[in-house]
C-alpha cells in the first residue's frame, strides 16, 4: 500500500525532454457599469473568442422559482421560427443559454471575425419576447414522461435518497432539485417580463477569453447589456435550510429498483464547504481515501479482491455543504462482503489516519494537477468566474492547494479523526426490487 519514495523522486525529477512552458494568460478586470464587471483572458493562439455573460440568479434563488426564471432564461433563444438559433447556426456558433444553481449564463464561442455578429445575436436573445409557447408545452409533456426514466436510474435514486436524508426542508433547493419539477410556465409575456427583470440585477459579469485585446474586450462589453438597474430583490440569494444532524439520520436506507443485478452503495455525510478553513486538510485526506486509482477505497474494494469495478468518493456542494461520500457497487451475492469492507476501510482510515508517503503523494497530485486548469483561456476565465460567484478571492483554488501542501501529517490526521467519524455517515443502498 505504501508508495515507495523512489516513485516520488522519479516523478519530481526534471525531464530530459520537456521544455519550459509559456506563462499562462492572466485575468484582466474592469467595471463595465455600476452593476457589471468585465473580464478578459487574452490568448492569441487561435482566432476565436469565447463569450460568457453571467447573471447572479440561479435555480436556487427563491426569486427565480417564483418568477419561473429557469425557463424564462433557458428558453429565450427559442422563438417559434427558430430565427435566433438559425442565426447561431449560420455563424457556426454553439450558443448556450441556461441556469445553474447560482447563476444564469449565456455562452458562445465564435471566430474573431464573427464577434460583432455574435454580440448582436446575444443582444437579440436577451431581448427576445417571442418564446415558442408550443415548444414549451411539448417540453413540459416530455419532461413528465422522461421523469419515469428516473425510476431505473441508480445514480439518480441514490442522489435523491441522500438529499432527502441530509436536507431537512423539502423546499431546500439542494433537496428540491431531486424531486419532480413543477410544470413549466408557457406564457411568453410572463417569461419575457421575468427575464427582462433578471438581466438588470447588479452583480453581472461579462467575460471574454481568446483572441481579443483589452481595448477590444472593453468595447465589446460596453454595448452588450442594457445598463444594470437598481438593487437586487431581497429574495434573489439562495435560501438554504438546515442539515439534518447525523444523530437524527438513519444509519441505513435501501432503495429498491427493478431488474438490478448489483447492489450500489453510497456511504455519505454532509460535505465540507469550499471556504471552510479545514478544506486544505480535506483535499489531502480525500485524495488518499478515495480520490485516485490507488486510494484506500480502490485498493480495498477493487485491487485486492476484485469486488468492484469502481470505488471512490463523490462530492456535491460549493460554499454551502452538499453531499460527500464513498460510492461503490458489486454483484448482489457479494453485497454483504463489500459493505463490510467499505465500513472497515472508513473505520481504519478514521482510526489510523494516513502515512507520510501518502501525504506526499497526495500533495504531488494536488500541486501537479493544477496545470490542467491552465490549458485554455476559457478554463482560466471559468475558474475566475466561479471563484467570484462563490464570493471567494481570485486565485482561491490555487491558494487552497498551497495551504494543503504546507500542512503537517499530524494536522491532517487530526482532521481525519474529526471528519471521517463513521458515526457521521449514512449507508444508502440501491438493491433489486
Amino acid at each position: 500500500m505504501a508508495l515507495p519514495a523512489l516513485l516520488l523522486t522519479a516523478a519530481a525529477a526534471a525531464s530530459a525532454i520537456a521544455v519550459p512552458v509559456d506563462p499562462a494568460p492572466r485575468v484582466t478586470t474592469w467595471a463595465v457599469d455600476a452593476g457589471t464587471t468585465g473580464a478578459l483572458v487574452s490568448d492569441h493562439r487561435a482566432p476565436s473568442v469565447s463569450i460568457r455573460v453571467e447573471f447572479p440568479v440561479g435555480t436556487w434563488s427563491p426569486w427565480a422559482k417564483a418568477h419561473h426564471a429557469s425557463e424564462a432564461f433557458g428558453e429565450q433563444d427559442d422563438d417559434p421560427e427558430r430565427a435566433l438559433r438559425k442565426r447561431a447556426d449560420a455563424l457556426g456558433v454553439s450558443l448556450g443559454v441556461g441556469m445553474e444553481d447560482r447563476e444564469a449564463s449565456v455562452r458562445a464561442t465564435c471566430l474573431k471575425r464573427d464577434l460583432e455578429e455574435t454580440l448582436a445575436l446575444i443582444r437579440d436573445v436577451l431581448r427576445n419576447a417571442r418564446y415558442d409557447e408550443k415548444e414549451l408545452r411539448r417540453q413540459d409533456r416530455e419532461r413528465a414522461i422522461a421523469w419515469k426514466g428516473n425510476d431505473t436510474d441508480v445514480q439518480f435514486r441514490l442522489g435523491q435518497a441522500a438529499a432527502r436524508e441530509l436536507f431537512r426542508d423539502p423546499e431546500d433547493p439542494r433537496r428540491r432539485d431531486w424531486e419532480k419539477p413543477p410544470s413549466l410556465e408557457t406564457h411568453a409575456a410572463k417569461l419575457a417580463a421575468s427575464r427582462d427583470q433578471l438581466i438588470l440585477f447588479p452583480g453581472r459579469t461579462v467575460g471574454f477569453a481568446g483572441d481579443l485585446t483589452e481595448d477590444e474586450a472593453k468595447e465589446a462589453a460596453r454595448s452588450l447589456l442594457p445598463a444594470s438597474g437598481g438593487e437586487a430583490p431581497p429574495d434573489m440569494a439562495p435560501r438554504l435550510g438546515a442539515l439534518v444532524p447525523a444523530s437524527e439520520r438513519p444509519g441505513e436506507r435501501s432503495i429498491p429498483i427493478r431488474k438490478l443485478t448489483q447492489v450500489y452503495f453510497a456511504y455519505g455525510r454532509d460535505s465540507l464547504p469550499w471556504n471552510d478553513p479545514r478544506r486544505p486538510a480535506y483535499l489531502v485526506a480525500n485524495h488518499v481515501f478515495g480520490g485516485s486509482f490507488y486510494s484506500r477505497l480502490y485498493v480495498a474494494l477493487r485491487h485486492e479482491a476484485g469486488d468492484t469495478y469502481g470505488a471512490g468518493t463523490r462530492e456535491s456542494g460549493d460554499v454551502a455543504p452538499g453531499v460527500y461520500g464513498a460510492a461503490t457497487f458489486t454483484r448482489a451475492q457479494n453485497a454483504a462482503t463489500i459493505e463490510a469492507k467499505l465500513k472497515e476501510t472508513l473505520a481504519v482510515f478514521h482510526d489510523k489516519g494516513i502515512s507520510e508517503e501518502e501525504r506526499a503523494a497526495a500533495v504531488g497530485y494536488l500541486t501537479g494537477s493544477r496545470a490542467f486548469g491552465r490549458q485554455s483561456a476559457e478554463q482560466i476565465l471559468s475558474r475566475w468566474m466561479s471563484e467570484r460567484r462563490m464570493g471567494l478571492p481570485p486565485g482561491f483554488s490555487d491558494d487552497v492547494v498551497e495551504r494543503a501542501a504546507k500542512l503537517t501529517l499530524p494536522e491532517i490526521n487530526a482532521f481525519i479523526r474529526d471528519f471521517y467519524d463513521p458515526a457521521q455517515f449514512t449507508m444508502i443502498k440501491a438493491v433489486a426490487k
Binding site: A11, A13, I17, K86, L111, I145, S292, T330, A361, G368
Partner: protein, 447 residues
C-alpha cells in the same frame, strides 16, 4: 469573405514546423507535436486492435487485456504506472472500442520521460499471472454489469447492435460477455499479447511542451529496442454493403414511449466521399436547428421528440432518423411519418451554399477551440492515422472540408441517405402506465 475563410482554413491547416511523424525500424509509428503553450503533455499509444478483432468465444478479450496492461511488468510492480502518473499530478486511463485500444496519459512536463519508459516497458514485458487475471476478470464482469446489465438504455443498444449486425465484427459489445470473460485464460491472454502488442501494430503520439529531437531520441532508446513482430489484425469488412436485416422489433424497460428508428449505413471515413459525408452529418445532426425534427415535431406534431443521430466506426457508420411517440401510435404510421419527412428533405431547402458555408465555419470553430488541449490533439492525430491513414490529416482536414461543394453534399445525401439500404427498428416499452394506455391517443388534440 471568401478570402477570410481561406485564410482561417490555412491557419487551422498548417502543419507545425517541428512536427515529427516517423516510423521506427521496428514499425512503431511515432508522432510528436511540440507546443510550449500547452502546460501538460499528452501521450497516447494506439494499438490497432479492438473488439472487432476478437474470435468467437473470446468476446471482451481486447477489453480484458486493456485492464491487464495496468498490471506488473518484469521490472515494475503492480500499480507502478498509475501511482507514478498520479503522484506527478497527472491522469492515466485506457479505452477499448471496436477498432482500437488506446492508452492515455496526461502529465505535467517533468513526468513525461517516466511515462514513455513505462509505456515501452509494458508493451512487451507484462507479467501475466493467473492471480491478476482472476482478479481482473471479476472487475471486468462488474464493469459489464454496471455499464450494460443494469442500464436499460445500454441493454437496448447492445441488443440492437447484436440483432442488426449479426455476424459482422462490430456486432459485439466491446465489454464482451460474462461467459466469455469467465473463460479467459492466462494462455489465451498471452496469445493475444503476442499477436497484437508489438511496435509494428502501434502508434505513439506525444503532444505538448517537449523538445522533439530529445523526445524522439528517448522513444528510439526505449520503444526502438523492441523488435517488430506479430501480425496485424485481419481487416474488418465495411458496414457499407453489409446484409443488414430490413427491420427489427425490440422491447426494453424504458420510459413509456415507442421509438421508431430508420437508418442507413455509411461508408468508411477514408472513402473519397468522406469529407462530403462529414459536412452532411454536420448539417443534419450537429446544429441547433435539426431540419428533420422541425418537420416531424414542430410543424407536423407527429412525435414527442425526433432527431438525427450518426455513429462512425473505422470501417463505416450509420445515420439514423428517429421519432418517439406515446404508445398509442402504430408502428406503420410512425415509419410513414419518417418517410414523409425524408421526402420533404429531398427538396434540399436545408442544403444551400450558405448552410454549407456555416457548417464548415462551425467545424472550424470546434477545431481551433480544441487545438489548445494536448489530449484532444493527440486523439485526433491517432484517429486520423488509424482511420484515414495519415496523422497529418488532423492539421489538413479543414482544407479538405473547405473544398467540399454544395453539389457534393447533395450527392452524398442522394447516394448514401436516400439511396442507401434502409433499416427499420421499432422499440416498445415493457411497461406502459394505465393512464397512458387509456388516454395517450388524446395527446395530438392538445399539441
Amino acid at each position: 469573405m471568401l478570402a477570410a475563410t481561406l485564410l482561417l482554413t490555412v491557419t487551422a491547416s498548417a502543419v507545425p514546423a517541428a512536427f515529427v511523424d516517423v516510423t521506427l525500424d521496428n514499425g512503431l509509428e511515432v508522432t510528436i507535436v511540440p507546443d510550449r503553450s500547452m502546460p501538460v503533455v499528452a501521450t497516447q499509444v494506439w494499438f490497432h486492435v479492438g473488439a472487432a478483432n476478437e474470435d468467437a468465444g473470446s468476446r471482451g478479450l481486447a477489453h480484458l487485456f486493456e485492464h491487464l496492461m495496468f498490471g506488473a511488468t518484469a521490472s515494475r510492480e503492480q500499480g507502478d504506472y498509475s501511482k507514478y502518473v498520479n503522484a506527478a499530478g497527472g491522469e492515466e486511463n485506457a479505452s477499448t472500442s471496436a477498432d482500437e485500444t488506446i492508452y492515455y496519459a496526461e502529465v505535467p512536463p517533468d513526468a513525461v520521460d517516466g511515462v514513455l519508459r513505462r509505456e515501452a516497458d509494458r508493451m512487451r514485458n507484462l507479467a501475466l499471472t493467473k492471480e491478476n487475471l482472476d482478479n481482473e476478470k471479476k472487475i471486468v464482469t462488474e464493469e459489464l454489469r454496471l455499464r450494460t446489465e443494469n442500464d436499460p438504455e445500454a441493454r437496448l443498444l447492445v441488443k440492437a447492435q447484436r440483432a442488426l449486425l449479426g455476424t459482422h465484427p462490430y456486432a459485439f459489445d466491446p465489454n464482451g460477455s460474462k461467459d466469455d470473460v469467465a473463460r479467459a485464460t492466462v494462455d489465451g491472454c498471452r496469445t493475444f499479447y503476442d499477436r497484437y502488442y508489438w511496435p509494428n501494430d502501434a502508434h505513439l503520439v506525444v503532444v505538448g511542451p517537449v523538445d522533439p529531437e530529445a523526445t524522439l531520441a528517448l522513444v528510439k532508446a526505449t520503444f526502438g529496442a523492441i523488435p517488430g513482430n506479430g501480425r496485424p489484425p485481419d481487416d474488418v469488412p465495411s458496414l457499407y454493403g453489409w446484409p443488414f436485416p430490413e427491420s427489427l422489433s425490440l422491447k426494453e424497460d424504458i420510459p413509456p414511449v415507442e421509438i421508431a428508428l430508420e437508418g442507413v449505413p455509411l461508408p468508411p471515413p477514408d472513402t473519397p466521399d468522406g469529407p462530403a459525408i462529414t459536412v452532411l452529418l454536420q448539417l443534419l445532426s450537429r446544429r441547433s436547428v435539426d431540419p428533420f425534427r422541425e418537420i416531424v415535431v414542430a410543424r407536423r406534431k407527429k412525435a414527442i421528440e425526433a432527431g438525427i443521430e450518426s455513429i462512425r466506426f473505422r470501417r463505416g457508420g450509420g445515420l439514423v432518423f428517429y421519432s418517439a411517440s406515446l404508445p398509442y401510435r402504430r408502428q406503420k404510421t410512425a415509419f410513414r411519418v419518417i418517410d414523409e419527412a425524408l421526402s420533404e428533405l429531398d427538396g434540399l431547402d436545408w442544403l444551400t451554399d450558405d448552410a454549407v458555408a456555416s457548417a464548415k465555419r462551425a467545424m472550424l470553430v470546434g477545431e481551433v477551440r480544441s487545438r489548445v488541449y494536448a489530449e484532444d490533439l493527440a486523439g485526433e492525430l491517432g484517429r486520423e492515422r488509424w482511420w484515414r491513414g495519415d496523422a497529418k490529416l488532423a492539421f489538413t482536414r479543414m482544407a479538405q472540408l473547405d473544398a467540399v461543394t454544395t453539389a457534393e453534399v447533395a450527392a452524398a445525401w442522394r447516394i448514401y441517405v436516400r439511396g442507401g439500404k434502409k433499416i427499420r427498428i421499432y422499440v416498445k416499452p415493457e411497461r406502459v402506465p394505465f393512464y397512458i394506455r387509456m388516454f395517450g391517443w388524446l395527446y395530438p388534440l392538445f399539441s
